[in-house]
């Protein structure tokens, strides 16, 4: 088999697997709605609940503006995990075998699942932007483009975690348990709801070793570029992760998450090729 033919097989494999994920979303509207309704609920309840008592974090940024970009990141995290769930699901319902005996490589299945889940996650993340005017943050085309790129990095990293996991887990229940025990806490301590530079020491430490924290911060930094975010001197900044008295920029954030994501991606690829 020539290189061109192999390449052709690979691309076809990736696309057909990803395409099915998109098709399934179209046929499963409940999933689509809940991915939007959850963060909306968070925004309304936490926003209304804390906005007054927490008070503004900087001159321009009140609590709602602070939480909102975090919730975009959270949406992408949660939706991305679906890549893994989808594999476990396929295994449980037998469809995985239809994929495994098709003349497409194992790697193209991994790429396809990640592409599918990441595509949906980016779409649902960007969909959250319709709420921007309500929150009171003006959006420029450039900001949206930057966000799109950022969300791709986020979603590919997170779906890779799911995929690596899915090569081991046999049942959906197992996967749900993992999400509840590891993913939910990881999302909660990623600074979606609070500034990680201004919390008790122990929480600050666990938050800052959590790769998701950098994803949340990157989204927040990109999103709030038009806002005044300076705080009184001596106060911890609300943007950037303070790490041994260095404050991370968007690029450092992306690098941290991207490296983590790339590692997860290769683990997923390796495990899937070996296992299935």
């Amino acid at each position: 088999m020539g290189v061109a033919a192999a390449m052709n097989d690979f691309v076809r494999g990736v696309w057909v697997v990803a395409y099915r994920e998109f098709l399934r979303l179209l046929r499963d509207r409940a999933r689509f709605v809940s991915a939007f309704a959850m963060p909306l609920l968070f925004l309304v309840i936490f926003g209304a609940g804390f906005n007054r008592s927490v008070g503004p974090l900087s001159e321009d940024v009140d609590y709602i503006k602070f939480v909102y970009p975090g919730l975009i990141a959270q949406t992408v995290f949660m939706v991305s995990m679906f890549a893994g769930l989808s594999v476990v699901w396929d295994r449980e319902f037998g469809f995985l075998r239809e994929l495994l005996i098709a003349p497409i490589s194992r790697s193209s299945i991994v790429f396809g699942k990640i592409l599918g889940a990441a595509g949906i996650a980016v779409f649902q993340g960007l969909l959250m932007l319709v709420l921007a005017p309500v929150v009171g943050v003006p959006l420029s085309v450039l900001t949206v483009l930057k966000l799109a790129v950022l969300l791709i990095v986020l979603s590919v990293s997170l779906s890779s975690i799911g995929m690596a996991l899915a090569s081991r887990l046999r049942t959906q229940q197992g996967f749900q348990i993992f999400i509840q025990i590891f993913m939910f806490p990881a999302v909660f301590i990623s600074g979606v709801l609070f500034p990680v530079n201004d919390v008790p020491r122990w929480l600050e430490v666990v938050s800052k070793v959590n790769p998701l924290t950098y994803g949340v911060d990157a989204v927040r930094q990109v999103f709030l570029t038009s806002q005044t975010v300076t705080v009184a001197s001596g106060e911890p900044p609300i943007l950037g992760i303070v790490f041994f008295s260095h404050t991370t920029t968007v690029f450092i954030d992306i690098a941290v998450l991207g490296l983590f994501g790339a590692a997860m991606f290769f683990i997923a690829l390796w495990m899937f090729n070996r296992q299935a």
């Binding site: 499963d28 449980e92 994929l99 098709a102 003349p103």
Partner: protein, 325 residues
Amino acid sequence: MTDSIIVDGLSKRFKNLEAVRDVSFSVKEGEVFGFLGPNGAGKTTTINVLCTLLKPSGGSAQVAGFDVVRQQTQVRRSIGLVFQDTTLDEYLTAEQNLRFHAYAYGVSRKLTNYRIEELLKLLELWDRRKQSIREYSGGMKRRLELARGLLHHPRVLFLDEPSLGLDPQARHKIWEYVLDLHRNDDTTIFMTTHYMDEAEHCDRIAVIDNGGIIALGTPEELKRKVGGDVITLKSNDKESIQKELREKYSIESELKDDAITFTVSEGDKFLPEFVRASTQPMQSISIRRPTLDDVFLKLTGHAIRDEAADAQVNLRGGKWGSRRR
């Protein structure tokens, strides 16, 4: 004629189980070849090795001229599969399932449209093509899987227990379609079953038990191994009849369920002669051709049926138990 499947000294070991041991056989092109045996005999394991889902522990296998270990992609391209349990995407419609398959196998769009229409009409699913799989009955799903397995014109079609879990009517239908399709395209068919009556549809059968082939031949050849027709006879004086059989015809008979059973070649000729010559009163006599049940019993010393029925009950229980909420 060339061979579609060549298996040589194949074995597959799992951690503490030797599922297939030193199995060799070959299947001719265009043949319907059956693997007959109880659950756990190694049928599915063999299929999984042949369709590249499992790597063999020893020996070699070729399908459609390609090695199942070294030329996986070519093997996959050449085969179609219908698994024991459904591997359809329940979230998609019947047609979407078929299109997904066509795309994964690189079938051209024009041919895909043509094949989908041809196969769905033949399998009487054309009117239901836009329906979600969740609304399909078990028999319909199996038919759709058959259509899917044939969509890309495979040279070898594997059917793993194609009628398992279906009611008799649906089973019958599936067989009608399979044989019909086979007449049309001359695809080689490799199937496994534990139903004896299904095995009779095959050109040749390998009887498998405990991971090894214990007999291989046409259904007729296998039946001949039983030694002829099976005669069941009821009488009040069983001992005398058994004695008569032994002394005059040197036939050993068995007492089973209040009746005498024995096998004899050309039973239709033997019986009138025996009845005329016998002095014993008889209540009823029946004669039947040997079935593969008899073959299996004769070869292994145990019946295939009970085990199969039990396994099926378990399988169904398991399936329902694991259904999605």
